[in-house]
Each structure stands twice: as C-alpha cells, then as structure tokens.
C-alpha cells in the first residue's frame, strides 16, 4: 500500500513540476534558515558545557554601591576563594583568574616578538575545576611554581614550532621569563573566555588579602548536591567576618554604617553555564552574548518556518482540488478515510523529506556566509551529532504531517459522488482558510521588514550620533608602553609629520576598556556619603583638542599656567552630581591612599561637554580629567588624504624608537564601531532572514496566484470573449491578493510597533519608531505582492480565450 502511495506521490510531483519546485524549494529555504539558526542557538547554549563539572562550577559576582556609583562586577576580592574553601565544607575547590591583556611574547633567545592577547594568571587548581586537558605536562604540578606558564597547542606551534616546549622559557614584554610546564589542548570556541596562556597566579606581584579590592574572577566548585542558592546566603557571614574589619580599618566605618548611608556590598553566585548568555557584569574576561539574541533568532526561525509551512500547506491545498476526482474514485473503490489521509500524508512527508535534503545542501553552501555575519565557526557536521538527528527527522515529519493534514482531512471527508459529479469546487471552498494563511504570512513579513528597518536606523543613529568628540581620523597607537621613556619624544616626532594636526598621551580614550571609578570628594568632606564616584583620567595638554572635545566653560590645561598639576576638568555629569552651580574655581579632593587619610586638592579649571565613552546603551557617567604625562595611550589627530602613507611614516618613527616591537594601531571610529558590532550583527542577520522570509512568502503567493488563475481560466476566457480588457482581468485577479496583503499590514503594524519599542528600551539613547517605517514596509509588501501576482494574472489574461474554453 505504501508503495502505491509513494508511486502516486512521485508521479504527481513529477507531473506538476513547477508546483513541486516552488513547494519544495520554498520549504527547503525555510528549513535551511531554521537549521542555520538552530546551529547558532545550539552553539550559544552550549557555552562552557564542555567542562565535566560545569553544573557545579559557579562564578562569584560582586555588586557594590560605593560613593554613589553602582558597580556590578564579574570579579571578587582575592581572599574570597581561599576563605570559602577553608570555612565551608560545601566548597570542593576554587580557581581564580586574573586577566592581564596583551603581551609581546617570544621564546627566550629569539628576536621577534609576537602579540598575544588575553593572557591571564590562574591558580594551580585550574585543571581540577575546569576541564582543560593537557597534552604535555602534569596538571597537578603545572601551575604550582611561580613563573610557570601553560600554553595552548597553537601557541606552542607559534613559538616553538615542532619542538617540545616543556621546560623551555618564554619572554613576556622583554621583561618576564616564564617556564613552560604544560601544553593544553586549544580551548573550545564555545567558552565564555579563551586564552592561549595561563600564567601561574603566584607570579603576580599582588598585595594579597584585600577584601576591598576586586580584581579576580573567582570560580568555586561546589560539592555534589549542594544548593547554590542556599549556599550563597553564607556571603553575608563572610562580609561581616572578613570585609567588615577591613572596611573599618581603611574607610573608618562599619559595614552597617556604610550600608545605612546608602552603600551596598553583595556577593552572588552565577552558574558558569549561564555566564555567556546571562551575565552583564563589568570586567568580564571576554564580551558575552545575550539570551535576547537567542530569543530573537529563535523567533525569527519559527517565523520563517511558519511562513514556509503555510506556503506548503496553501499550495498543497490549492493543488489538491485537482485531486478531487482521484479521491472520489478511490472512495468508490473501497478506500476508507484513514487510507486517504495516509496517502496525502505520505505525499507531503515525502516532499518535506526532499525539502530537508535540499535544505541540508543549502546550509552547506551558505554556512561560510552565515559564519561571516554571525562571527561563529559553525560546521555542517555539527548538525549530524546524535542530539540533532531527531530534529532532522522530526522536523520534516512534523512539517509534512502538519502541512499534509489539511488537504488530507479536508479532501477525504467528502462524499465521493459530490466530488465525482463535480459539484464541489474544492479550490474555492478552502479559499477562506488560504486567505487567512496568506494574511498571516504577510503579517510576519511586514513585521520582519519593520524590525529590520528599525534595527538599522538605531544602529545608524548610534554611529552618527554626536558623541561629544570627533572620532574621525583619530589614530591610536596600541601597546605604546613599549616606547617606555621615549613616549613623549615619539609623540613630538610624529607631531612634526605633515598631516598630523595634533597628538596626545593619555591614560584613557573614550572607548570601552577596563577602567574603574574612584571617588572624588567635595573639599573638606571625607565622609563616604559625599563621595562622587568618577572616572579619573590622566591626560596631557593636547588631549581635548586631539579628540575634538568641546569645553563648555573654563579652559583647557595650558602650558602657560604653572599650577595645572592641581587643575581638574570635569564633565557635565560630574558637575551635576557634585551639585556645583558655578563650577569654575571649586575645589575637590582626590583620595590618594586606600585608607582615606591622604587627599590631594584639585581646583576645577574647566567643564568639558558630555561625551560618550561607553556604549550608548548606558548613560554618561562622571569623568574628571587631570594632568598626568606618564600615561600609556598615544593618539594622533590626522588630516590627510593619504592615510596609508602617513601611517607608514609613523611606523618608521616607531621602528626607530621601539626596535623589535610590532607596530600596531587602530582608528578611534573603528573602536567605536566595535561597540556596536553585536547590534550590527543582529541587524545583518535579521536583514538576511527577513529578505528570505519575504522571498518565501512571495514564492507561495506566486504559486497560489498561478493556481487561482488556472482555476479561473474558464471565467477569464468567457470574460475575454465578452470583451474584457487585459488590464481589467489583471485587476480582477490581483485585487483579492492585494486586499489580503492590506489586511496583513493593518494587523502587523501594532505588533511591530510594540515589539520594536521593547527592543529599543534597552538603549539609553534611541530613536523613536517613525511612522513612515510602517508605510514603507507596507508599500514594499504591497509592491512585492503585486509584482508576484500580476506576473501570473497577466499571463492568464493574455491567454487566447478560445484555447481555455475549448479545453472545458
């Protein structure tokens, strides 16, 4: 029986080639989108699960409000891990990491340095807590001695080629020698941080035992069966027992007093497997993703699959009208409804399976492109792991059954004689449902179009927003510390090059980086409650002009004023937080020690207009600029048409002053754009998929229009014989579809409006959703629908009426 069904199915599919192609291709595209997104989502969800003990590993987060500033940090005090292990039997182990950023690394004795990023200190317990298999070396001993380092296989290859690195030494920044005690397998890409170098924590010349400094990512491994939620209640005891005394000693107030004056000290646990998607702390080891993206993409995938399924269903139903006779005959020959349902289901499942196979081909072909826009390294074989197999089987089966169900149940329920007599025009009978489905499809397309436009406008808004400084043609030198004492000379030398209009040596640039707030106090008021938590940036005379910041009042630091080492420039936010009505000349105190006993007095000499230095998702915080020439970031303002040539000249100067050091630079606007790369990526992905969604929807509409035109061939013939013009027939056929699309637009508008406002809520600075976005999306939808449908209507209208009437 099944063979009979399959035979009929295949012959049917072959007979109606165009329809089969549209149906299978449409569904395959939808499935391919789904699979791509599935790969993406599964990859996102798989982060850090490769650790064997992942379900028991937690990171300690620190939430502190101190001096008016909220700090949510991924780091905690250095004694936290050891203390928890000592005091609480529930804790099986801990490991601390301390990210140290980029170093210049070479094998001792070699001349050429290589830039190595994300180097970090790690406790020797690293390999007990995390699952990081060593290829060479003993995990128990590897990071025990100071000045030892475990490197990854690829780092070993880079620095040692095919030699065995064990026992050899690496020179970091031409200053620190570390002995290689282990080679680990490269860390998987789905880890919330990656590094090629773990340096023994004991190499760090750190003042250990400070509860008030938060610098270490601490991961604890709980014993089996310990409830993390309940365990985290112990943090209050830790605060009272350990943090309290140090607070008393250094700040001069008890924890309770500090808390009463509005400060906050809290520690919490986050499961390691949640970090990648849920953690939004400061000072993460690497930027995290967001569960929001996972939701967005999953929704898009479901949208597209729905659109594709609807197509499939619509076309199958429409086409099934032509099968009515067959159904009638079969019923008369003794087929029961169940068998007919089985037959139609077989057919649609067969098509869905073909579509799935085609989808796999499409995925294989488009994966490089998808990897490019999603910046992932997904491979097609990830689809063929055992967990995915049910999906690969269930998806086409489910889609096939779903799509086949309507024609199956609908057609098989008819009394055979009414079908055989041709009394029922099945095509028209199911038109109501089909219309509903078309409306639904276009509704989703319109929502996707609106979504894409809003995302793009928001990104554009951010990128062109006046950020308070001029980020064009600002070149910054990376690793300027390599210049050492030559920094100032280098700056002056480059400054002399034609095309370089200014240059500055400073501590920070207005792009996100690791930096923290420290308190400033109004003069004479050293109470914690008066503290204003402020970014304190050391700059030079040329900082403000180089970056194109604007002064609101007062003046910039100037060589003509001798006392500028005690001058300070605040931004507008800081002025507001201090509550200065007339800020120029006001004095503030800056704490120089940790105990809060030594203060330096600064006089406000200027107010700089607010500029953005973090992502536009956040509001602008307080910033204070002070003179401090001994800083590491060198930046130049250029004004040249031939940037590459100019950069070459700068590089030449660099080579003179920092021989052996790689020259590396970046442009400020690039760094700025990097902040929004996640948004851009989302935008690009959404754009790609909404184009596909519309394409699929149109494919369906195309097929449907063809069918409707075919159904009405006789009517068209008669009308033409009676004198109808081609235009009037095109209008007649297109009218119905356009009405459906208009209804879809009406339904989609409020949904899209609501959805996009919800998305924009995340941004501190955002666009309003403009009304014309909806008009444009609507027009696009109508236009596309019209073009699609009219192709078929014109074809039908141009047909010779005699032909269509004779065949009746």
């Amino acid at each position: 029986m099944l063979r009979n069904y399959l035979k009929i199915a295949i012959r049917n599919l072959r007979k109606q080639r165009g329809f089969t192609f549209i149906n299978i291709f449409g569904l395959a595209t939808g499935l391919a989108c789904c699979l791509l997104i599935l790969l993406y989502v599964v990859d996102e969800l798989s982060f850090d699960r490769f650790h064997e003990k992942a379900d028991r590993i937690y990171r300690i987060n620190t939430d502190i409000k101190f001096g008016g500033n909220d700090m949510h940090m991924a780091v905690s005090p250095d004694p936290m891990g050891p203390t928890l292990l000592k005091d609480y039997p529930q804790v099986e182990n801990f490991v601390r990491l301390h990210g140290r950023g980029t170093f210049l690394v070479k094998q001792t004795g070699q001349t050429n340095n290589l830039r190595e990023n994300d180097i970090m200190y790690a406790d020797s317990t690293l390999f007990d807590v995390f699952t990081l298999p060593l290829v060479v070396g003993n995990p128990k001993r590897a990071l025990v001695e100071p000045n030892t380092v475990v490197i990854s296989e690829s780092a070993a290859k880079r620095h040692f080629g095919n030699e065995n690195p064990l026992g050899k030494t690496l020179l970091f920044d031409n200053a620190f020698t570390y002995r290689v005690t282990g080679v680990m397998r490269d860390m998987p890409t789905n880890a919330h941080f990656r590094t090629d170098f773990f340096v023994c924590m004991r190499s760090d010349n750190y003042e250990w035992g400070r509860w008030l400094s938060n610098n270490h990512q601490t991961y604890i491994l709980l014993k089996k069966g310990v409830d993390a939620q309940r365990f985290s209640q112990n943090f209050e005891t830790v605060i009272q027992k350990y943090v309290g005394p140090q607070a008393q000693e250094f700040v001069g107030a008890t924890i309770d007093q500090l808390r009463q004056s509005g400060n906050r000290f809290e520690y919490s646990l986050i499961p390691m497997t949640d970090i990648h998607l849920h953690s939004k702390q400061n000072i993460e080891l690497a930027p995290n993703s967001d569960i929001q993206y996972v939701y967005t993409f999953s929704a898009v995938a479901v949208f597209i699959l729905l659109i594709a399924c609807i197509n499939f269903m619509n076309l199958s139903t429409a086409r099934s009208a032509n099968r009515a006779k067959e159904v009638g005959v079969r019923k008369v020959l003794g087929s029961v409804q169940r068998q007919l349902i089985g037959q139609f289901m077989t057919e649609s499942v067969l098509m869905a399976i073909l579509a799935m196979l085609l989808a796999l081909v499409i995925v294989a072909l488009t994966l490089p492109f998808f990897n490019d826009i999603s910046s992932k390294q997904l491979t097609i074989d990830q689809l063929f792991i055992p967990q995915f197999l049910p999906v690969l089987l269930v998806l086409p089966l489910g889609v096939g059954l779903l799509a086949g169900s309507y024609p199956a149940f609908f057609l098989s329920s008819f009394r055979p004689i009414s079908v055989l007599k041709g009394k029922i025009n099945l095509g028209l009978k199911s038109a109501g449902l089909r219309s509903g489905l078309v409306v639904f499809q276009f509704m989703m397309s319109v929502i996707l179009i609106v979504g894409t436009m809003v995302v793009y406008r928001q990104i554009n808004f951010i990128q062109t927003k006046k950020v308070g400084f001029n980020r064009n043609q600002v070149l910054t030198i990376n690793e300027a510390y390599a210049l050492g004492e030559q920094t100032q000379t280098f700056k002056d030398e480059v400054r002399k090059l034609p095309g370089v209009t200014n240059g500055s040596v400073s501590g920070y640039l207005p792009v996100p980086s690791n930096r923290s707030d420290s308190p400033l106090f109004p003069e004479g008021q050293r109470e914690q409650s008066k503290a204003v938590s402020t970014q304190q940036w050391g700059v030079d005379y040329d900082y403000i002009p180089t970056l194109g910041m604007e002064l609101k009042e007062g003046r910039n630091f100037s060589r003509e004023f001798g006392a500028d080492s005690t001058g300070i420039i605040l931004n507008e936010t800081a002025v507001k937080v201090f509550g200065f009505k007339d800020p120029i000349g006001k004095r503030v105190w800056r704490m120089l020690d940790d105990e809060g006993k030594v203060f330096k007095t600064y006089t406000v000499i200027g107010v700089v207009k607010n500029f953005h230095f973090e992502s536009l998702r956040q509001n602008i915080g307080s910033v204070a600029l002070m003179m401090d020439p001994n800083q590491g970031a060198v930046s130049f303002r250029l004004n040249s048409h031939d940037i590459p040539a100019l950069v070459k000249q700068i590089e030449a100067k660099w080579k003179q002053m920092a021989p052996g050091m790689p020259f590396s630079y970046s442009f400020l606007d690039d760094s700025f754009d990097a902040m929004y790369r996640a948004e851009q990526r989302v935008g690009q992905i959404v754009l790609t998929f909404s184009v596909l969604a519309i394409l699929i929807a149109c494919l369906g509409l195309f097929g449907l229009a063809a069918f409707m035109a075919e159904q009405r061939t006789k009517e068209i013939g008669v009308r033409k014989v009676l004198g109808a013009t081609t235009a009037s027939i095109v209008g007649l056929l297109s009218k119905d579809f356009l009405r459906l699309v208009l209804i879809a637009i009406l339904i989609a508008t409020p949904i899209a409006w609501y959805g996009m406002n919800a998305w924009l809520k995340d941004f501190a600075y955002k666009i309003d959703v403009p009304w014309w976005v909806f008009v444009l999306a609507g027009t696009v939808a109508v236009f596309i629908a019209f073009v699609t449908v009219s192709f078929q209507s014109i074809k039908a209208a141009l047909m010779n009426p005699v032909k269509s009437l004779r065949s009746e």
Partner: protein, 230 residues
C-alpha cells in the same frame, strides 16, 4: 438481493422541496441485468447512486442482502464497496497517475489482497480483456473505449456481486459501445454478476433482461417481453 421500499429523494428548495425520486419500490434479484431508462432529469442517476450507496435516500428503506443500508456505518459501507459492489462511470474515472495495471490493482489493494494473489488476478483480467500489451500505459494514452474496458476490468477485479454502470457507453461511439455492452452481457451470463445500468439508448437497454423506466422521479416499471433468460 436489492430491495427498495418507498424510497424518495428530495432536496430543499426555498421553503419547499424538490423531489428527484418519489416513492420507489423495487426488487432486484441476483443474476439480473437491469437497465434504468428515462429522460434527462428523471432521476435515474440518483437512483443508481442510491443503489450504489453513494447517496442516501431521504425517505424509505433500502435492504442490500437483507441488511438495512441506512443503518450501516461508514466503515461497513466501505466494506460493501470493496467486496460486493463495482462501479463503471460514463467518464471512466480512472486515476490518471496510475497505469492500466495499477488502476486495476487498486481495488485489490484496498481489499487487502496479498501481492501474489493480486498479480495473478490482474494478469488474468488483462488477459481476459485483451490488454496485456497496454498494461503499462497511462489512461491518457488510451482511447475512450479502451479506457472504459479498464474501468470495467477494475470494477470486476474484486469479484463483486453487482456492478452499477452509469451510462457506460455515453462517451463512446457505437462500435465501441457494442463491444462494451457485449462484455456486460458476458459478465452477467458467464460470471453471474448482477448488473444495473443507466442508459439513454434503447439498443443498450435491450441487453438487459428488465427495463425500469423513470419519469419525473416516478417509476413506471414493466417487464420487457424478451426477458426470458436464454
């Protein structure tokens, strides 16, 4: 075998009803060859459909082998279709996507016959209807008469007790028509299959041993003089 008691069929029309069949009482015995005649719209097709259980009477009782048809479940009725009843249509109603062989095989599939049995049964029918050479052709590749031959072969495949034929020669010219009618006659005589046909043509009607005449839904039945079975 077939017994109708006061069967009527009507459709609602406005506030009243339009009668298609009125008060038909009729018995057909096993082995008969009955022709139903009448002008267009007299209800002969409806009567045939009721007899074939494709439509239900509005009033009255229908006994098929002494079973009241109205009370049969859909499933039981399908079973009757599979095992007792064969249909031949004016428009042949072959399945376009299936070959001659497969069309004939279809009712056997529904009957649940084993593959080897099916093979021999279809082969026997093809042989008997002289269509062995055409078994792999599709309906569209056959002439009308050949298509109707396939239709009849398909109807008799499941060895039904009765064949209902709705103007089986309506679309054929006279040579082919004669061939088909001879075939029915043969089936009736040699295989003992009861045949009920609807026809316009007096000539074709003569093949039967009884003619039922319908007019405006009324049955004016009388015996045909030549009903004596040879």
């Amino acid at each position: 075998m077939i017994s109708l008691q006061n069967v009527s069929k009507y459709y609602p029309a406005g506030f009243g009803k339009t009668y298609v069949l009125r008060n038909i009482t009729l018995d057909i015995n096993e082995g008969e060859f009955v022709s139903i005649m009448g002008p267009s719209g007299s209800g002969k097709s409806t009567l045939l459909h009721i007899l074939g259980m494709l439509e239900e009477p509005s009033e009255g009782e229908y006994l098929f082998f002494d079973q009241p048809v109205q009370k049969l479940s859909e499933k039981r009725r399908t079973e009757l279709h599979r095992n007792y009843i064969g249909f031949v249509f004016q428009a042949y109603h072959l399945i376009d996507e299936l070959t001659v062989y497969e069309n004939i095989e279809t009712p056997l599939l529904y009957k649940g016959m084993s593959s080897s049995e099916r093979k021999s049964r279809v082969a026997e029918l093809l042989d008997r209807f002289n269509m062995v050479a055409k078994k792999d052709l599709f309906p569209s590749q056959l002439s009308g008469g050949q298509q109707q031959l396939v239709g009849i072969a398909r109807a008799v495949a499941s060895q039904p007790k009765v064949i209902f034929a709705d103007e089986p020669t309506g679309n054929l010219h006279s040579d082919h028509a004669k061939e088909i009618m001879d075939l029915f006659k043969k089936l009736n005589k040699e295989d003992g299959v009861t045949i009920v046909q609807v026809t316009h043509s007096e000539v074709n009607a003569e093949y039967g041993n009884r003619i039922l005449r319908l007019k405006d839904g009324w049955l004016e039945s009388f015996q045909v003089p030549t009903l004596e079975r040879e």
